[in-house]
Amino acid sequence: MVTLNINNKTYNLEVDAATPLLWVLRDVIGLVGTKYGCGVAQCGACVVHLNGEAVRSCVTKVSRAVGQKVITIEGLSEKNDHPLQKAWLELDVPQCGYCQSGQIMSAAVLLRENKNPTDEDIDAAMAGNICRCGTYLRIRKAIHLAADIQQKTKNG
């Protein structure tokens, strides 16, 4: 039995402690917004927040999350109104969409730590998230827009 706090909700689960967190999120709890891409921490599709850090849930054992705070794409905002989600919609960023929840979760850490990132900061932060549709330029533009939205929301 493991006890997890996911999106501010407590779950008591009968799972092996060595199970990857991604399997628990998708197959046990049913939070399927987080995607399985490569399974070896190479693509970024499975990024969730563990105590605010953008961990790759495919290689993170569920035991590492016990007693910690996990946030998935479903829990990033209460009304899907995180500045990044607003910017993503406004600029119509996704093409196939498979990598996008991982992209947004990684970008959220960037915007928390750097309120006004440069292109260089964005490249450094997002280099581990692969998009096979090649939406990188829209992702970068959307992160800049989200930074503006975040700033205006804070000032407004």
């Binding site: 070896v40 921490a41 190479q42 990024v47 850090e53 953008a54 961990v55 790759r56 290689v59 993170t60 054992k61 590492r64 979760m105 990684s106 970008a107 850490v109 960037l110 730590e113 750097n114 900061d121 450094a124 932060a125 997002m126 280099a127 581990g128 998230n129």
Partner: protein
């Protein structure tokens, strides 16, 4: 015929050759030990010979890949830049969504091409890069004993460092990665021999 006071040519040649040989041998060592442990424990030949073994380990991929000359760690036995180009960051633990521990777990992840793990996975910090890549034996030995460039380590701390958890992880690198060229026990033996005999640097 007057008495000859000159040595035979053959003797002069032998003495000259010996002097040249000795000067070459002696020039191979720094005269000053890095740590003053008293004359009785200084042995520059033993120290330098031990360091050359230590150097083989430090320049192996398992050590050097996290002591790069740039701000991106290295990967593989060919020391290529880490895919995804993760950055060192101020504290050596990465930046933003690209922090080391996001992929590198507290333990090795099973399987080929998966991230090796350690609870303290990181590069040296930005203000103390402790670069191994590209350093000659002389340069690396000098750097390792300089507290301004080795993380403020004195001799005792350097000795302890042989058993540091991250150093030890070089011998537990995860599946598919080559080990350093000797066992950790051997490495530690040479590390201690280098330091305890004066931590001399090989010639430039």
């Amino acid at each position: 015929m007057g008495k000859r006071y000159f040595l035979p040519k053959k003797t002069l040649f032998v003495i000259g050759a010996l002097l040249i040989f000795l000067s070459i041998v002696m020039s191979g060592f720094e005269r000053k030990p890095a740590f003053d442990k008293g004359e009785s424990q200084r042995d520059s030949v033993t120290s330098v010979n031990a360091f050359m073994k230590v150097y083989q380990v430090l320049m192996s991929p398992r050590c050097m890949n996290c002591h790069p000359s740039g701000n991106v760690p290295l990967q593989g036995d060919d020391n290529h830049l880490h895919t995804m180009l993760p950055q060192r960051g101020k504290d050596g633990k990465g930046v933003y969504a690209m922090k080391c521990a996001n992929c590198h777990q507290p333990e090795n992840t099973p399987g080929l091409h998966t991230p090796p793990g350690n609870p303290n996975w990181h590069l040296p910090p930005a203000d103390m890069k402790m670069v191994f890549q590209g350093k000659t034996p002389h340069e690396l030995a000098k750097q390792l004993v300089d507290p301004k460039r080795n993380g403020q380590k004195n001799m005792a701390k350097l000795i302890e460092h042989a058993d540091d958890g991250l150093v030890l992880s070089g011998w537990n690198p995860g599946e598919g990665r080559t080990l350093p060229p000797m066992s950790h026990d051997e490495f530690k033996k040479y590390w201690l021999a280098w330091i305890k005999n004066g931590a001399y640097a090989p010639a430039p």
